[in-house]
Symmetry: C2
Subunit: 321 residues, 2 copies
């Protein structure tokens, strides 16, 4: 397959069509090919990120609510997806917004840490393609062996593919059976190096998980529902990158956390931009915990959740002032 001429043609077609504003038939005659081919090239150009079509996410930050939340929660930026409005599925809207925001935050040369979960995978799945140079996407936590559809490595690789970036996977299980084994594995040079380089990321993308029987970590088998119940009694408030956090956003002192291979929360906090995306209303408490723990600087939520957060933070803020 002659890859070069094809690539060139795609670039030229995209250039003439999008930058010069020619029509497809004009491009076709310039390039001496059929218009149908031009249409195909243009589709490829869009799919591979040679052309970038992005909408301003301004609309969602212009919102007064977003500004109030930024102040109340001391966050760098908040985006709020309108809910029960004109879009069929509100949670899709949040993911679409999150994908746009994410793409807006990524810069050339960045190193990006990606966690996992349904939310992250949904974002990856609808994210448009881009052609960022020198971007590296790293996995923030260990893997699940099971054939589970939102596996950490899948999330990482899919996002890397979309950005035309390098994806670095984490070849270790998320959770091990004994603390000793986990300690040993963390000490392995390969793993050690990867874990210690996480704080060098410029941007992190994650969501937060609940700590009930429906929790992601339970459904994927990392914990049983009973174990989760016990952890909950012990103060578990949420899940970040596979780790259990308490209401203060600190790693819970428990056997499970000691058996997990994942980025340390302190490393995560060193990442400049921490983009947290929450789709479900049920994640209110976990989200509060994550924010309290400083695990989030940029936030994408739905309107209902935003109002709840403000109701929660508002009184506290008033008290403080």
């Amino acid at each position: 397959m002659a890859i070069r001429p094809a690539e060139q043609l795609i670039h030229k077609a995209a250039w003439l069509y999008y930058a010069h504003g020619l029509r497809q038939d004009q491009v076709a005659s310039q390039l001496k090919i059929s218009r149908a081919s031009v249409a195909m090239y243009l589709r490829k150009a869009r799919e591979t990120g040679i052309v970038n079509i992005s909408t301003s996410t301004q609309l969602f930050t212009d919102d007064v609510l977003a500004r109030q939340l930024e102040d109340a929660l001391k966050l760098d930026a908040v985006w709020i997806a309108p809910e029960n409005d004109y879009v069929a599925d509100p949670s899709t809207d949040i993911a679409v917004l999150a994908a746009s925001v994410f793409l807006e935050l990524v810069k050339k040369g960045d190193r990006i840490g990606v966690a996992w979960g349904r939310t992250v995978y949904t974002i990856a799945d609808i994210m448009s393609y881009a052609d960022l140079q020198d971007v590296t996407v790293v996995q923030l936590c260990g893997n699940l062996g099971a054939p589970y559809s939102y596996r950490p490595d899948q999330c990482t690789m899919e996002i890397a593919r979309r950005l035309n970036a390098k994806g670095i996977n984490f070849y270790a299980p998320l959770v091990l059976t004994t603390e000793e084994l986990a300690r040993g594995l963390r000490a392995e040079p390969v793993i050690r190096e990867q874990l210690s380089s996480i704080h060098e990321c410029d941007l992190a993308l994650y969501s937060v998980g609940t700590v009930d029987a429906d929790s992601h970590v339970v459904k994927c088998g990392a914990l049983t529902a009973e174990e989760m119940g016990a952890l909950r009694k012990a103060g578990a408030a949420g899940v970040i990158a596979g780790q259990i956090i308490d209401a203060e956003g600190k790693a819970l002192d428990c056997s499970y956390n000691r058996r997990v291979i994942s980025a340390e929360l302190s490393s995560l906090r060193k990442i400049e931009k921490r983009l947290m995306v929450v789709q479900e209303d049920s994640k209110f408490e976990p989200l509060i915990a994550a924010i309290t723990g400083g695990l989030c600087t940029h936030l994408v939520v739905g309107a209902r959740m935003a109002r709840r957060l403000l109701d929660h933070a508002g009184p506290a803020a008033e008290k403080a002032s």
Copy 2:
């Protein structure tokens, strides 16, 4: 006119169409308006920069020639527009390319210095709209009083308008009749401040002018053809932001330069990214002078000019190594 709801609708339409990928009729039914209105909103969204369509300029840097030039001339980046190829007017192609490159180089929060001339105005004119926040566009040199079509303030304002940025004009003439008056004016706090803040720019956009009777500065009446002839004999090699430079790219020691109100070359050199765009083949010597003087880090030229530059620099580079 209710400006708010209209703006909101444009945003929503753009969002549903470009981010969610709905069809226009679907957007129309969601928003409960006619499809024709949706089409109109989308056009407005594109025209105001609410949506951004940008093509990768990769194609033009991938060129071997561009790489060779970068090395030979010690430039940060070079883009080469293919000439006598498939596009009708090669100089338009250079301007289109320059506009894309320019938009790619601009970041949020940047301060941009803009000079003037036909090239700069052409670029401004075909540049697509963008919605950058907190961008400031400043004029690099004084103004022409005459109703001339590529006036410095017009260049600045047009680019500011396209970027949805703040434009800061320079309310002083480009050239005065006496050196004394120029000194006095430069000492004025308003002017002084503006001149001294130029080195804080993150990006500069300019071209270079010739020093013959056809020169821009002659045509707009800043200099007579005779004066220009004399300056040429005295070593003038090009014009940058209204100032005459010699073959070394230094400001020529002459009365004219002392009567000009413009950014000092040393300030220009402090700007991190100096994007120089040259359309005409006749500007070879002036361009060499500008590059020699370190007034250019990013360059956009046509293929013919690129080859001439390489022929010129190539032997010298070989001699050096």
